[in-house]
Symmetry: C2
Subunit: 305 residues, 2 copies
């Protein structure tokens, strides 16, 4: 099965206390699509300008990512610049140039409309809804979002999340969205707004998954070397969506979702080991499987009867 | 089997953004001993002044805690006052009056010297070592510590930890102690200083346990209501130690330690639901078992072969 990924494609400039790199491949859709591509075929929707390096297009193509939905338009590619301080959990946006992204209108090619799993990576909720309008009976819809949309487009976001199966957001955003300090209460409250499932990401501390009567706490993979946290959340969402697509067309159970969350966490834990998508370029399925088994062993304390 | 608990006994004044309470039962030994008492008999070593309320002594006695090692001396009981802001992970000490604690010299009654499990709750490392000097071939020694001793008594702390089986400290302290930002590297480095095992507490985010070639990541129990985080770490250590003592005299394996860490986390998760030790007063073994099972279910994602 395929997964449809829509989101931003960017050229990033990222500064950490140790290093700074310019014009890196970035954007929510780039990370998410490459993350998903480890597990399944990806239908990719996004926009770039005439300055977008050909090598990045070839990289996507080489990763089992279909590019019929990639629009190349006149103008410059979306650019983002951010800085991390010693606490790599928080970042500061230094500049944003929307460029061709300002008038992005995501259009699904005919061949994409029946894609069973849809991942709406982080973009304006109105655009995410517009993608859903074009989809034909998707089996499972995942949306990622961010604080900006809670601030400036809350009504659009509320309209969107009533239509998704799984909403992904981070802990600060879940608190901001609901006004609840307890993540347990925040997760339950967001579920009442429509999504069947809610995943709350806690950065390096793992992730909580809420279902109707079910709950999963995914521990963090303890990282030895974090070089660049950019895209960790997008890679998580991509890995999760790709893993679900790889399961074929049976029912998506809470157990499937638990494993999808762990696979997403594994991919994100690799992604932060290098700048941009560099670590994902050399990553193998054997690496992923090995770290998944480590996750399993390190989280285990009691055999389930 | 019994566990020996030594540490501070205090009367606390605690302020949160919501409530303030004065003259509460507190101190590292109080939380640790009551935590341990759910699982095993406790030999208790500490000091109080003439002003220490009789009801607290009776509370300890009623909890299967032997008080032969409790010294009551002339003067006032140790007093601590602290304040939490909205982020209940960080606190500010408002005042400390050492009082009778200033000249505390922990002495083990003859009947305590062969206690198999020893928990050196948070006090000056020199006093913790002094307790070990009096112990007769303990099977397993656990020490808890804090940032203050890393700052002002690092040599004493180094001398102590060479003699313990398990050192417990929090994430900030592990980083401060080693100068490592990565908790994985910090844990490994502390192990090289002597302790067979190191537990790094991450507040509401859980705990990491390091052994020679083994590693356990204990997720956090997602709390709905935190009223007072005071004593969470001490209760964790006490529950862990008491659980180990309850296992009898077989070898202490890494699997035993994993379960001990989860039991400690369960007790700590209850303790923060009310001020002082109030929640522990009404807590039952059925409550503990139920939350342990929840922990098990919420952490599980794959059956171990």
């Amino acid at each position: 099965m395929s997964v449809l990924v829509v989101g931003s494609i960017a050229l990033d400039t990222v500064k950490t206390p140790v290093e700074e790199h310019a014009d890196l491949l970035g954007g929510s859709a780039s990370y998410a699509a490459v993350g998903a591509s480890f597990f399944s075929r990806v239908n990719f929707v996004g926009v770039v300008g005439g300055d977008f390096p050909r090598e990045h297009v070839e990289f996507f193509r080489g990763r089992n990512i279909d590019l019929e939905g990639l629009q190349t338009v006149e103008g410059k590619t979306f650019r983002w610049s951010g800085e991390y301080h010693w606490d790599l959990n928080t970042r500061e946006t230094r500049s944003v140039e929307l460029n061709v992204f300002e008038h992005f209108n995501p259009e699904l090619p005919e061949s994409y409309r029946a894609t069973p799993i849809i991942l709406l990576a982080n973009i304006a909720p109105k655009l995410q809804s517009h993608v859903l309008d074009q989809a034909e009976q998707p089996r499972f819809v995942i949306a990622d979002t961010m604080d900006l949309w809670i601030d400036i487009a809350k009504d659009d976001l509320l309209a969107l999340i009533a239509r998704v199966d799984l909403l992904i957001l981070n802990d600060g955003e879940a608190r901001q969205f609901t006004g609840e300090t307890s993540l347990v209460r925040a997760g339950a409250q967001i579920r009442k707004l429509g999504p069947k499932y809610v995943a709350i990401k806690k950065g390096e501390h793992g992730c909580l998954l809420f279902g109707e009567d079910q709950f999963f706490s995914c521990g963090a993979y303890p990282l030895e070397d974090i070089h660049d946290p950019t895209g960790a959340g997008d890679t998580f969402a991509g890995g999760l969506a790709g893993y679900l697509a790889s399961l074929g067309d049976g029912e998506i159970t809470f157990d499937n979702l638990r494993r999808a969350v762990v696979h997403g966490s594994v991919l994100a834990s690799f992604n932060v080991e290098a700048f941009s998508l560099e670590r994902l370029r050399s990553l193998t399925m054997a690496d992923i499987e090995q770290r998944y088994q480590l996750f399993r062993l390190m989280s285990h304390f009691e055999v389930l009867g």
